[in-house]
């Protein structure tokens, strides 16, 4: 077993995850996105202006037609995210394997993917829930993007600290309680950051709540599908890799 074998399996699992996530995003996400764009066009730019120097977002004179944005464009986004996050989860699973007590390769891999979903998506979601087109002011896109990625970095750092605390405590507590203290450490650090970070509420007055809710639910479902497929497929591939390695070792011993 080598880190390279984990990486290639992660990339493959991520490819599948990206394709499934596209399916969920297309079916659940495109209706609210189209509803939001229709609202934007009927509102005639009343909610926000397009001319503030930030690029993009004139859906009428778009270089890329909506029919491509909602299909191949969307697929590009979910597949690139799936493949590259998959590679990272693969290598992190290689690192985690055997370092958290007697947890099976499958369970370790699934736990790494679940942690990735929480740390990279759910936590930022709490402070900065995703918005459909036409929600958000072009004047604040810079500061909103900076805040989003800073919170993402804090979330990752909090997770690293939590893992180190949990692993350190395994010498004093049993695995279950060490895990609980590690999880609590993450919740306090990352939850504290969510409480302290600035909020941006730029949903226009009288914006239909159902469009906003459907969009956010679809975004959540898309990311959940991505991480779930990634975690479960990678867990299966890693299990086969570990079993094969163990069989080879056993054969070698037998010979």
């Amino acid at each position: 077993m080598s880190a390279r074998e984990f990486l290639t399996r992660g990339l493959l699992a991520g490819l599948l995850a990206g394709i499934v996530a596209f399916g969920v995003a297309y079916v659940a996400g495109e209706p609210p996105v189209n509803a939001a764009i229709a609202l934007e066009e009927t509102a005639g730019g009343a909610g926000h202006s397009h001319d503030a120097g930030t690029p993009g977002h004139t859906h009428d004179e778009a270089e890329v037609p909506r029919s491509l944005q909602s299909t191949l464009g969307l697929l590009t986004g979910t597949v690139v995210a799936g493949v590259t996050l998959g590679g990272l989860v693969g290598v992190l699973s290689a690192l985690a394997m055997g370092r958290f007590g007697s947890v099976s390769p499958r369970a370790t891999t699934t736990a790494v993917a679940a942690a990735g979903f929480i740390v990279l998506y759910v936590l930022p979601f709490l402070a900065y829930p995703p918005n459909p087109p036409a929600v958000g002011s072009s004047e604040t896109i810079g500061v909103r993007t900076a805040a989003y990625f800073t919170l993402l970095a804090v979330s990752v750092l909090a997770a690293v600290v939590a893992v180190l605390v949990g692993r350190h405590l395994r010498t004093r507590l049993d695995g279950w309680h060490a895990t609980l203290v590690g999880a609590a450490t993450y919740l306090v650090l990352a939850g504290g950051a969510v409480a302290l970070f600035p909020r941006f509420n730029e949903v226009p007055a009288h914006y239909p709540a159902t469009v906003l809710y459907d969009f956010r639910l679809a975004s959540f479902a898309t990311q959940l599908a991505l991480w779930a497929v990634l975690g479960l497929v990678l867990a299966e591939l890693v299990h086969r890799l570990a079993t094969r390695t163990a069989t080879l070792d056993a054969d070698r011993v037998a010979v």
């Binding site: 080598s2 270089e63 996050l85 998506y121 896109i141 909103r144 989003y148 390695t245």
Partner: protein, 72 residues
């Protein structure tokens, strides 16, 4: 493979551990690959523009929204 060795294998699916030293270069590689790729999906031609125009933004527009990034 005999029944005996199968049983031994089952029992011996021990959890293999790779040395951190061997994994770290791969972690760095996978991490950088993810960061560069996700930059283009999440932020290029939005808050920051390395390339001029709006083609990248428009191409990944729906993915950027639905994956949860601030788009505009």
């Amino acid at each position: 493979m005999s029944d005996l060795s199968t049983t031994t294998t089952r029992a011996a699916v021990a959890i293999p551990t790779l040395s951190a030293k061997a994994v770290l270069p791969w972690l760095l590689f996978a991490g950088l690959l993810m960061l560069v790729a996700m930059y283009f999906i999440s932020a290029e031609q939005g808050a920051i523009s390395l390339l001029s125009g709006t083609g990248v933004h428009e191409w990944v527009h729906d993915g950027r929204h639905l994956l949860g990034f601030p788009c505009h």
